[in-house]
């Protein structure tokens, strides 16, 4: 009996882990290795053939890959920049002595918690490029424009629409993250500065900014990683069109995988980007470690 007991107590930690690790192994770990393997194969529904680096060469020779890459970088810079700057702006406003802060917080957070795809459909209704889009309907009823604006069908307007939508969806999150950081700065620090007759700008420069910058850096890194995977907003609003002009890396990867069923190409594209994501994640982890070490 005693032996069984010690055996049981040694096995217990693993028994606790087992169910979670089974799911993790099947749907995360195995797919990661398998997709890496796929990227060296010409995969067809009925057969597969090892082709070395051919898929990687195909990706690099594909003009639409570069369109998607350029768009993704454009989306990345504008949406991350927009969310960080506007997030800081609204966080500062919310940190003033104001009434109804709780209500504002709720309102600002609502776009964040709703489903990406569902609110993208709502935006598709607002921005529909025919006269039945609500925005066009409003503009035409007001006599601002005589004919419908091609929000989602003219390449630049479509890109701008995607960017605006992404900032709208994520702004509440950055604002709340920054507000949390602002509120954690002890009021005493400012009071001491007041004794020295520090100006508002001086206080911002030497107290707020240095204490906020780690959080800003971490949030930025997180947004960059997210921006690499921009999908539902492009897929639903424009489908990557017109003529691939709004395509992002993820939508292009998706259509190669599940429309053209070229699994090798799609996985190779993912692994070409992995170094960027890896670097961003490592930077982020370092920043976090620093932030919590003090």
């Amino acid at each position: 009996m005693g032996k069984l007991r010690t055996l049981m107590s040694k096995a217990t930690p693993y028994l606790f882990l087992l169910p979670a690790l089974i799911f993790f192994g099947i749907f995360v770990l195995f797919p990661m290795f398998w997709s890496f393997r796929l990227s060296f194969f010409n995969w067809r529904v009925v057969s597969e053939q090892f082709t070395g680096l051919q898929n990687y060469a195909n990706v690099l020779a594909d003009p639409i890959f570069y369109v998607a890459l350029a768009n993704t970088l454009l989306y990345l810079v504008t949406t991350v920049g927009g969310q960080v700057i506007l997030g800081l702006f609204f966080a500062f406003l919310l940190n003033q002595r104001i009434r109804g802060r709780a209500l504002f917080r709720v309102m600002y957070y609502i776009p964040v918690i709703t489903s990406w795809a569902v609110v993208a459909i709502l935006w598709a209704m607002l921005l529909d490029p025919t006269k039945y889009g609500f925005l066009n309907y409003a503009l035409m009823s007001l006599g601002i424009t005589g004919s419908p604006v091609h929000w989602l069908t003219e390449p630049w307007l479509a890109r701008i629409s995607i960017i605006m939508f992404s900032i709208w969806k994520g702004l509440g999150w950055t604002a709340m993250m920054f507000l949390g950081a602002l509120q954690s700065i002890p009021q005493k620090v400012y009071e001491v500065a007041d004794l020295d007759n520090a100006t508002t700008w001086r206080k911002f420069q030497s107290i707020t900014l240095p204490l906020m910058s780690p959080v800003v850096a971490v949030v930025t890194a997180q947004l960059i990683i997210g921006a690499f995977n921009i999908f539902p907003q492009v897929y639903i609003l424009t489908g990557g069109g017109p003529l691939h002009s709004t395509e992002s890396l993820t939508t292009w990867q998706f259509s190669n995988a599940f429309t053209k069923l070229d699994f090798g190409y799609a996985t190779a594209m993912g692994f070409l980007l992995l170094p960027f994501i890896l670097i961003m994640t490592l930077i982020q982890m370092r920043l976090v470690r620093k932030e919590f070490e003090y």
Partner: protein, 271 residues
């Protein structure tokens, strides 16, 4: 003067952020004759629930809604349980290979985007699970393990171990200590986790698009995406459908606000 400017800016911001939802909600209660009125009425003159009845009975929106609720509920309950078990083991028990497993979990958060979706698809297809609930939610459970496990581990480590030590002296089994003592102390952690997982399951679009081909198991995001096309001029019906797609998340948020701590994935790396 200065505070007036603050309020104006905050109100403009709030209007931009929730304006689309106000238009959606208002339009969803209007008869078709009222939707093109300009300027639009905020409070519908012909207020009625007909649009909701129509989309729920004449279109498969009711089906999509039930599918979304079922899939999110199963994913959330199973994942929270499995993750809390594993996180407890990481936080409190000693075993060989702990550091290695920890590194593997963190490393898995760096993923080559949707490249891993392809093997997931192959697995689900090989298992004959395309177009089934299991085909949708089983991978969700797997994808939600790593990040949440690291967060939950933090919650367990934050409770004092003295209570558990006392129980150990009383010869309680490890499972009893986990279930009867530790678990009730991390209620807030479980709620936070449940919210994350519920929202991510409700939100998932790409995966459902990939593994479903009929209405039987389609969830709200994909269902609405397919539904919208022919209804683009029926603002009243489409907004009613979209309202049903966002309402559960918003209600959930309003009810459980205190557990909605805005966090980033990075919280998980805190060692």
């Amino acid at each position: 003067m200065r505070s007036a400017a603050v309020y104006v800016a905050l109100i403009v911001g709030a209007l931009v952020l929730i304006g689309p939802f106000l238009w959606m909600l208002s339009t969803s209660f209007k008869p078709k004759t009222e939707i093109f009125k300009f300027p639009p009425t905020l409070w519908p003159e012909g207020f009625n629930l007909k649009n909701y009845v129509t989309v729920l009975t004449e279109a498969p929106i009711g089906r999509y809604f039930i599918n979304s609720v079922l899939i999110s509920a199963i994913t959330t309950s199973v994942t929270v349980f499995l993750v809390s078990l594993a996180a407890y083991s990481f936080a409190r028990l000693e075993f060989k290979g702990k550091n290695f497993l920890f590194v593997a979990l963190v490393a898995s958060l760096i993923s080559p985007g949707i490249a891993t979706l392809i093997p997931n698809f192959m697995i689900v297809r090989a298992a004959g699970l395309l177009d089934t609930y299991a085909g949708v939610f089983l991978p969700y459970i797997g994808w939600n393990i790593a990040g949440n496990l690291l967060i939950m581990r933090g919650f367990f480590r934050a409770i004092p171990s003295s209570i558990e030590d006392a129980a150990k002296l009383d010869n309680c089994s490890v499972f009893d200590i986990y279930f009867k003592i530790a678990l009730p102390l991390v209620g807030a952690g479980l709620a936070t986790l449940a919210i994350f997982i519920w929202l991510s399951a409700w939100d998932e679009f790409m995966w459902v698009l990939t593994v479903t081909s009929g209405d039987a198991v389609r969830t709200m995001p994909v269902g609405l995406y397919i539904f919208q096309g022919p209804y683009i001029t029926d603002w009243n019906l489409l907004t009613a459908a979209v309202t049903l797609g966002v309402a559960p998340s918003i209600v959930f948020f309003l009810l459980m606000q205190r557990y909605f701590v805005p966090t980033a994935a990075f919280e998980a790396y805190k060692g």
